[in-house]
Amino acid sequence: MSKPRRILPGFHLSLGIALVYVSIILLLPLGSLVGQLADLSWARYWSIITDPRNLASYRITVLSAALASLFNMLFGLLCAWVLVRYTFPGKRILDALMDLPFALPTAVAGITISTLYASQGAIGQWLGFKVAYSWLGIVVAMAFTSVPFVVRTVQPVLEELPASVDEAAITLGASNAYAFRRVILPFIWPALLTGTGLAFARSLGEYGAVIFVAGNMPYKTEVTSLMVVTRLQEFDYPAAAAIASVVLIASLLLLLVINIYQARFFRRIHGNQHV
């Protein structure tokens, strides 16, 4: 076997830099988590991660993240549709605003949502129910921080949909609603699901925005990432590491599923072409 010839320069240099950097910044720190976990006995690990207070935090985190993602699925689809299909004054601003939650620090989002939705707040005073310092506040904070995911995954796919497709559906007598449900929705469905999945994954780990709004009552409004910080502040590093491993495994698995799903979908669409 002959050595592959590389025409472009810099292979060894860039490989060296990348490996050193990835090792120092990524692998070594993540390895220390594994190291910390290895010091724990299985029984102790199990008793930490199934502690009732932690179990309650998983339930709260997953349920709130699911609701927030559901909101973003609908809101994101609406915004992507409006941005791709129509022209109207202020469109550029609307488009730019969609990225605001990524650009705005989560702590800023947190205190602002908390102030807005407090019972005396600008929005909270008009609502008949409690949002800030209840689990609804967690949902609002998670929904805010993950707005861009659905919009930005659906938008490019919707742009790719040829005009002839829905024109054909309408010419053949389909109503708007029917054509949307049977022709357009199946086309954008994988992107919609991917975006929602990414929003969900982000919400699972959200900390900054949530802690200001949640009220952080044990068993009621504590999210899992807060449990990690609480244990850290007590210098109980093994417990913090154990809880963190649950979050980490959940989000990595989720990402893996999303990636596999996406790859399958792209193979289906681009089938025989070389992409």
Binding site: F11, Y21, R92, A163, G208
Partner: protein, 282 residues
């Protein structure tokens, strides 16, 4: 020819609905930040802005960004060059690894650094022997920020460089271009907008990171409190105006980031239109 959703009532209902919801979800919070920061009048805003603690928080925030952004721009560019210009064993794995910071909760990012460099950590103990303490000090905050922002530039560049292919660079090499010349003359002009965009995203996140930084900061007044941490500290102390003044600074940075991003996209669109027009004329 009519497309789905083109009838005027449907169209305007959807547009108005999207605008109203966006206003509620995204614009109202922005207005609230300004309103709260100005709640005590302009004088109080300026007082809060110029007090020693705020100034040191601004300084620390800038320091973190000044170290993080160039390092991660360099790393992102090198990584993108590596995975788009060469095929080698482990290329896929490297690409997956670099995405991990996106999947990891910021709190966990802080935790793993604490485990490694903290007093009981492998490296922390060794460094303590030389009297070097990284955690609960600004170097630790820089390190976690490096972790959190490491994928941004590479993620912008990889799809871009993959789409462009390596023909231009190979042609340049066959014509005798050397490393640096090749990069500055051929590669850089092609990836400039992606690189700028990646850099401003890195910058926005570096200045705004909260979760990861709060875990390793130790919250020493005037020393290890960056702007996002100051937002939290003042808010917990019931100094709402002070908290929102720092928040306003960060919100202005966020809006500026969006404006630059919009401008870059607009320029790219215009360039593309000009190119396709030239192609038509030919």
């Amino acid at each position: 020819m009519q497309r789905v959703g083109d009838s005027l009532p449907v169209k305007w209902t959807l547009i108005v609905l999207a605008l109203v919801l966006t206003a509620l979800v995204l614009v109202v919070p922005l207005i609230e930040i300004v309103r709260q920061a100005l709640a005590g009048g302009v004088g109080e805003l300026l007082d809060n802005l110029t007090n020693t603690y705020t100034l040191s928080a601004i300084w620390l925030t800038l320091l973190i960004a000044v170290i993080t952004v160039p390092l991660n721009v360099l790393f992102g560019t090198v990584l993108a060059w590596l995975v788009t210009r060469f095929r080698f064993l482990g290329r896929r794995l490297l690409q997956t690894l670099i995405d991990i910071p996106f999947a990891v909760s910021p709190v966990i990012a802080g935790l793993v650094y604490l485990l490694l460099y903290g007093r009981n950590g492998w490296l922390g103990q060794w460094l303590a022997g030389y009297d070097i303490q990284l955690m609960f000090a600004w170097p630790g905050m820089v390190l976690v920020t490096l972790f959190v922002t490491s994928p941004f530039v590479a993620r912008e560049l990889i799809p871009l460089m993959q789409a462009q292919g390596r023909q231009e660079e190979e042609a340049a090499v066959s014509l005798g271009a050397r490393g640096a010349q090749l990069f500055y003359r051929i590669t850089l002009p092609n990836i400039r907008s992606g690189l700028i965009y990646g850099a401003i995203l890195t910058n926005a996140r570096a200045m705004g990171e909260f979760g990861a930084v709060s875990v390793v900061s130790g919250m020493i007044n005037g020393v290890t409190i960056s702007l996002p941490l100051q937002v939290e500290q003042l808010y917990q102390d019931y100094n709402t105006v002070g908290s929102f003044v720092s928040a306003l600074l960060l919100a202005m940075l966020a809006v500026l980031t969006l404006v630059i991003k919009g401008l870059l996209e607009w320029l790219a669109e215009r360039r593309q239109q000009r190119h396709s027009k030239v192609a038509e004329d030919v």
